[in-house]
Amino acid sequence: MGWAIALHGGAGDIPVDLPNDKRAPREATLRRCLDLGVAALTANRSPLDVVELVVRELENCPHFNAGRGSVLTTDGTVEMEASIMDGTTKRCGAVSGLTTVVNPISLARIVMEKTPHIYLAFDGAEAFAREQGLETRDQSYFITEQNIERLKQAKEANRVQIDYTQPQPVKEQVPTSSEGDSQIG
């Protein structure tokens, strides 16, 4: 028995020759977030506090697909989602369809702690965030040049992408959207 922590920044087709200018900032954020979490655990913060503050830090980093740096919908907007769960009590909170909330994970926690529900979405979730005084920003805060480019590429290839999927050569014939999973190429 003893404390432990693990975190992730997304899984996908991460090329083994990822350029250093993409790899280094992500590894640095992982290291910083791990240190943050370890310090909180050794200071006897609750696991619920620890996972929230680590995910908030990851949401604030534009290099990961959450919060600032979220990938874009087909309309070029962000719709963020998050969830949190306490193992001891099985209490949990979830949100989706967020467009202005800076830290979705904190709204998920407030849903868990201050409502009789588990899951709030879209306008209701956004209104609840304002009611609770959570920090909100307009869409431009969340949108990065890199994700605008990724959306452009995905549209050209007429498909959706999971984290880190590499652009396909344009000449490849991609099936139409009605063919479901083949959309990730």
């Binding site: 975190l7 920044g9 996908g12 655990l41 995910v55 963020m80 949190i84 979705p104």
Partner: protein
Amino acid sequence: TVGCIAVDGNGNLATATSTGGLVNKMVGRIGDTPVIGAGTYANTICAISATGKGESIIRNTIARDVAALMEYRGLSVKEAADLVIANAPEGTVGLVAVTDKGDVAMTFNTTGMFRACATENGHSEISIW
């Protein structure tokens, strides 16, 4: 997608996951992250945060399956995670999991997963592939 799981020295567990979803997704599309039991789950035995293609994670109830295999069949967290990931569609899922004893599993069937972990007995890792 980003996620974190933690257990304290008393065996209390928690998990959290957050994401922007899929690139070029339809407006209004919900992925696995807010669906408790699919992308995020925790009980008194383990805590899991998953990442990847939401539709695949929801169809395969990834997080709850890992917990159920530990709870009902007594598998270790590594055995449970490996089994669930091996049975999910290739190239679509990764997860981090921790138990009340502080055992950690970080498993994926994609090319890579940005991940990091540390334990009180001194193990520490930051990896991609």
